[in-house]
Symmetry: C2
Subunit: 448 residues, 2 copies
């Protein structure tokens, strides 16, 4: 077999990068569980008719066939899921009678999209989603709570931000603000207006104005008003007065402004600086009906949003049953791929091992394994050296992997000693009681 | 949308089952890391030519195509991996220059096989693998260590076994014993003999004898000797004398017996009862060259092996570089699916939540969220009630999910109280200091 080469769009992390990813995933999971979200995994495949319900993403689906079926030309009718929202909506409908509502779940899984690969865009990538769905009606307060969960979950990323500053900013808007405003302006095709404004960052205000005229039937004055709304941005509740100053009146606009103000107020109390009202945020997907979210990494705003979502009312319904929800999805692979590419994150070591037990001769392996077992029994990850090489070589084995401690069994009744190979300090130690510093127990994630 | 139905062969767990799975996976991961195995994930897809290298599994591969390519009839040349061994071997070859050997990794991922679904056999399932690979040569002692890791990892399963008894038995054999024995008998096609003996449990000794004659060129006496070897089974080192009594002499047989005796001796010292020498264990795959393992759940032997593997020398090689290894693979979905089907395992609750904060009126939500945040800050998973319903209804909300505690904010300067809804006991409590019993902090896994 010749040496294989990577597949474009299918990233794989080396052990040290994977250690960073695991640390991030552990923190996400721990936070989600502290808020009462239950873990859920759905199968990787969905029937093609489910996946193609929303025409715009159809081109990205990977279709699956069993090898024999390919030969026969038959179609398995299955494809790989391209997000976790569609499978979650299907799971809720399928199991509604066996779930308790409101249902809070987190879901951390790979998804696949057959898009052209480019920086920060993959064909296989990991998403971490939280959603709350309820039966019939979903109280608004979940739209307030969910960004706080994300703030706690991503709050520990060591991105070199100033002390006391969160590494993320969640940009918040509310569909009711936009739709109410457009309606109050006299525009009837509010969806077309939203789609035009959604392109603001990509094509700029002049072209968006043109689109508003061409696709949403806006006059020049209406287009200017839409752009004025999209310019409004504030770190506090002052956005309300700025919208009022545009003198558009609509009951849906009032409702949206009140909701958005509540999100901003709760976020300011929970984690100052976490949220920002950003009235240009539209989100491409048409199923959002209330609050919408996008998330930027401080200092890496050029990456775009690494965590997005919103309130939806019509995603999961069967007959008369409706399951409205609100959710956010973290693009874990996208975020880490960009941070790795920028050299922004690494791990203190590439193995879980905290201690390497040195081996004087192969006959001592049994005794060394018992020493290792004693350390493991107290939660200290330990390996025994692979061979009875010279001690210098065994120490280099530890150094290359970042293992901080080497344990030397005492010869002839001498006590064992343990050496911190970073400082060189070597002390007598008992495997039944010795404890490494807490920071050395597991790999740490840090800015290099 | 009509209510969706399950897809045969693609299992999905309900939240309480998923809580069991998470608990098992946490224990596996924790154990693997204590032994210094680093986490690794590989992409879900491999080039078809990689997946089809071993002809026997080709029919099980799921082929992937992007939707447009299907329309064009083009072939993407990619398929979903059907195990974690082939991708791991590919990863090692691809990244050999960036890994440190011996390389210990664990890998917990879904795999896919387009087989006909039946009880305990799935089209999508989770595997948990550990392997140690080295460059050029792999010391034998890893073949001794790996079953001990599996014993520790699966040792905590509460399967109702007697106190002090492990829930699993690892059946061990060594390819060198079989091949040496067959060679010493005068058989030249030892692979054919191995394939015949591998069918013993399925077709019985008479038919195996027939196969040995027909496919391995054995005489009746040679076939009887092969079956006599396969009958040998012992919980200690006594298998050696029983093999010697068959009076077959071969240096490879001697080597194999010595190795198998070492595995048995180390296992007896580490975890009495964990391993059993079982000389009929052959393992279907032809790449094993030393120790082979199969694992049974005590009391559920009818399930067959839930964790198998062995030593391999020729799986990963490119040009002159060889990477021999030894590994074991736990069929997590298979094991849990069978245990769930037998009603053998459940979780104490279906949510991570330990405390529900009751809500007297919607205006108190902010204060309740602060109470929840104080509890979460000390590692206690907490939710605030979804609405200010009557307290009886809020308590039923907790009961239905298995949440053990309901927290009642004190009215008018009264202290808060917390109620254990199982016992009904209700006591004054302070969110800054109150701690639930350790067993209530997370869902517990138990026999129902």
């Amino acid at each position: 077999m010749s040496r294989p080469t990577p597949l474009s769009g299918f990233p794989e992390w080396l052990p040290r990068q994977r250690a960073v990813e695991l640390h991030v995933l552990d923190r996400l999971r721990r936070t989600f569980e502290l808020y009462g979200f239950a873990s859920l995994e759905t199968r990787a495949v969905e029937p093609m008719d489910q996946l193609l319900r929303k025409g715009e993403t159809s081109k990205e689906v990977y279709v699956l066939r069993r090898l024999q079926e390919v030969a026969q030309g038959a179609d398995a009718g299955l494809g790989l899921h391209f997000d976790l929202t569609v499978p979650f909506a299907r799971f809720v409908l399928e199991n509604a009678g066996r779930l308790h509502f409101p249902f809070r779940r987190y879901q951390i899984q790979k998804v696949w999209r057959g898009e052209r690969p480019q920086e920060g865009r993959y064909r296989e990538f990991l998403q971490a989603d939280i959603d709350v769905v309820d039966r019939d009606a979903l109280p608004f307060h979940y739209e307030v709570e969910l960004p706080l969960v994300i703030g706690d979950a991503l709050g520990g990323l060591p991105l070199g931000q100033e002390a006391g500053t969160l590494p993320v900013v969640i940009q918040v808007n509310n569909r009711k603000v936009c739709e109410g405003f457009y309606r109050g302006l006299g525009l009837t095709d509010t969806e077309a207006a939203l789609r035009a404004v959604d392109k603001l960052d990509k094509i700029g205000p002049a072209k968006v104005a043109g689109l508003l005229t061409a696709t949403a039937g806006a006059t020049d004055a209406q287009a200017r008003a839409c752009l004025a709304l999209a310019e409004i941005s504030s770190a506090d509740g002052s956005f309300v007065d700025r919208v009022r100053a545009l003198r558009v009146v609509d009951p849906l606009l009032d409702e949206g402004l009140a909701e958005l103000a509540q999100v901003m107020e709760a976020a300011a109390a929970h984690a100052p600086g976490l949220c920002r009202a950003e009235l240009k945020i539209a989100r491409g997907l048409d199923y959002y009906t209330g609050t919408v979210y996008e998330t930027q990494l401080r200092g890496y705003e050029r990456f775009g949003s690494i965590c997005s979502g919103g309130r939806y009312d019509n995603l999961a319904s069967a007959g008369a049953d409706r399951y409205p929800g609100v959710g956010l999805s973290i693009g874990v692979t996208r975020m880490l791929g960009l941070l790795f590419g920028a050299g922004a994150l690494t791990a203190s070591r590439e193995v879980p091992t905290a201690v390497l037990v040195a081996l004087a001769d192969e006959g001592a392996r049994g005794a060394c394994q018992r020493t290792a077992a004693a350390l493991r029994g107290r939660g200290i990850a330990t390996e025994v050296a692979p061979s009875a090489a010279k001690f210098g070589r065994q120490i280099r084995f530890a150094q290359r992997r970042g293992i901080p401690f080497v344990w030397f069994p005492g010869a002839d009744g001498e006590p064992d000693t343990v050496k911190d190979i970073r400082s060189g300090a070597q002390d007598a130690a008992d495997a039944a009681t010795w404890q490494p510093p807490a920071a050395d127990l597991r790999p740490e994630v840090l800015a290099p």
